[in-house]
């Protein structure tokens, strides 16, 4: 249950890694991880390789991140979701909203 943030050297790529359950308890950390990134054209990558579970608040958080990124001409990419997490993303039809790389 943790949020890790990695910023590339040029500052254009921000990778946010989620470990364990991705739920409401992470919302403050998650929000803090991107709230100060206000440069144009940044790419936010959400790495879900070690995320075991996801609830609707996680989806809401991702959408808020998407709003934030788009307001700064950036975009959001989800990478390596597990089978169960990917199913939840499919139900939410997130593959229509943003890029999901398996």
């Amino acid at each position: 249950m943790s949020v890790k943030k990695q910023v590339s050297d040029n500052g254009e790529n921000i990778e946010i890694s989620i470990d364990g359950r991705f739920d409401f308890s992470l919302h403050q950390h998650f929000r803090d991880s991107y709230a100060n990134c206000k440069e144009k054209g940044q790419v936010f990558t959400i790495n879900l390789a070690t995320a075991s579970y996801m609830d609707s608040s996680a989806l809401g958080m991702i959408l808020l991140l998407k709003d934030h990124a788009e307001s700064h001409s950036g975009k959001v990419v989800i990478v390596k979701p597990s089978e169960s997490v990917n199913k939840i993303l499919e139900i939410a039809q997130f593959h229509r909203l943003l890029t999901i790389e398996r």
């Binding site: 739920d23 409401f24 919302h27 403050q28 929000r31 996801m54 609830d55 609707s56 608040s57 989806l59 809401g60 958080m61 959408l63 808020l64 199913k87 939840i88 139900i91 939410a92 039809q93």
Partner: protein
């Protein structure tokens, strides 16, 4: 007559033996020769007469037999006539019976064919209804399982969207309440400053009161003012505490609000996932069932015209009744011929000695009957021998 002949024969025989004896043992003489000639002549005469009497007897016998034969012919013909009559009446009865049976059977079969045709048409109509229902074109209002499942799927997707959107809005609300909480913290620090001002004012008022006491009577009025100022500072400290208390209450409420928002934002998607899976399975199942049903219905649709065709063939085959009736009717012609023959035989009356002519007449009549029968056979009303020919409309 016969005794006389025998006697003469014996006598002749005896004389002949005597003569032969004479010829062998004695010499030939005239007497003997004359005797022999006489004897032979007598013998020849006797034999001739015997033949004549035989012929007469035969003729007499023939005459007696003739009358017997005529009687026999008449009897035979009469028995033939009665046999013909009996057979004819049997044939007539049987033909009528066959006609009746065929008529009844055909009425029954025709009725059942009509019923079968009606049933087949009903079936066709039902199938058409089923097909139109299946395709959902019969009524825009009608609800097919397919559309129901599709709607369920869409509703589920909407539901998921609502959940996610609620979560998103809740998270936004959450950040707003966090901001509000921070603002309240700021108010707390401001209140601390206000409290500091109040305590300083209190100290200043205390100092002022001390200075006023030192000044004696001249400072009495100032001492009153200093006391009032001190009282104000105490009041403002009390007010400060009240405000702090209220804000603390507000912060508790904000905590409760945040908890509610958290609950609102955190919806477990597992059950939704299962529901979605079930709907997907249902969609697949309904699709398969639909395909199968459509195939069966199409096969049934092809079957109905075949039934109709078969029924029509059956109905066409029913014209055998007509043909059979005609055949039976022509059979009646034959029995009429037999009847005429019977009449002719009945009229046959043998007069004494006229049998030959009568028989000739009868032969002539028979010849006429044969000719008539052949003519009728050539012009038989039923010439059709196969059911395949011709069309018969359903009556």
């Amino acid at each position: 007559m016969k005794n006389k002949q025998t006697l003469l024969l014996w006598l002749g025989g005896a004389v002949a033996i005597v003569m032969l004896f004479d010829l062998l043992f004695m010499q030939v003489n005239y007497f003997s020769i004359i005797c022999a000639i006489l004897l032979v002549t007598t013998f020849v005469f006797l034999i001739k007469e015997d033949n004549n009497s035989n012929a007469i007897q035969l003729a007499n016998e023939i005459t007696g037999n003739n009358s017997l034969n005529e009687q026999g012919i008449e009897q035979t013909l009469t028995s033939i006539a009665s046999l013909l009559n009996q057979q004819m009446s049997i044939i007539d009865t049987e033909v009528d019976r066959a006609s009746g049976l065929i008529r009844d059977a055909v009425t029954g079969i025709s009725g059942s064919f009509k019923y079968l045709k009606n049933l087949s048409e009903d079936q066709q109509q039902m199938l058409n209804t089923v097909i139109s229902h299946q395709q959902g074109i019969s009524d825009d209002q009608s609800m097919t399982i397919e559309s129901f499942v599709h709607d369920s799927s869409a509703t589920l997707e909407d539901f998921v969207k609502v959940i996610i959107s609620t979560s998103k809005q809740s998270l936004e609300a959450m950040s707003f309440t966090n901001e509000m909480s921070k603002q309240l913290e700021g108010i707390f620090s401001l209140l601390g400053q206000v409290e500091g001002l109040a305590s300083q004012t209190n100290l200043l008022a205390l100092n002022a009161a001390i200075e006023a006491a030192r000044a004696g009577d001249a400072g009495r009025g100032f001492a009153v003012v200093a006391n009032e100022v001190r009282a104000l500072s105490v009041n403002s400290t009390e007010l400060n505490n009240d405000i702090r208390e209220e804000i603390s209450k507000a912060q508790v409420i904000i905590k409760q609000l945040q908890h509610s928002v958290e609950t609102m934002a955190s919806a477990d998607m597992t059950s939704t996932l299962e529901a979605k899976n079930r709907v997907s399975e249902m969609v697949e199942h309904v699709g398969e069932v639909n395909v199968k049903t459509n195939t069966v219905v199409e096969e049934l649709t092809l079957l109905s015209p075949k039934i109709n065709e078969t029924v029509e063939i059956g109905i066409r085959s029913l014209q055998f009744e007509d043909l059979t009736h005609q055949t039976l009717a022509s059979l009646k012609n034959n029995t009429q011929t037999i009847n005429s023959l019977y009449q002719a035989l009945n009229q046959f009356d043998i007069k004494q000695g006229g049998s030959g002519e009568q028989l000739k007449m009868l032969q002539k009549q028979c010849q006429q009957f044969i000719q008539k029968a052949e003519y009728e056979n050539e012009h038989r009303s039923v010439s059709q021998s196969s059911m395949e020919e011709g069309e018969v409309e359903l009556f």
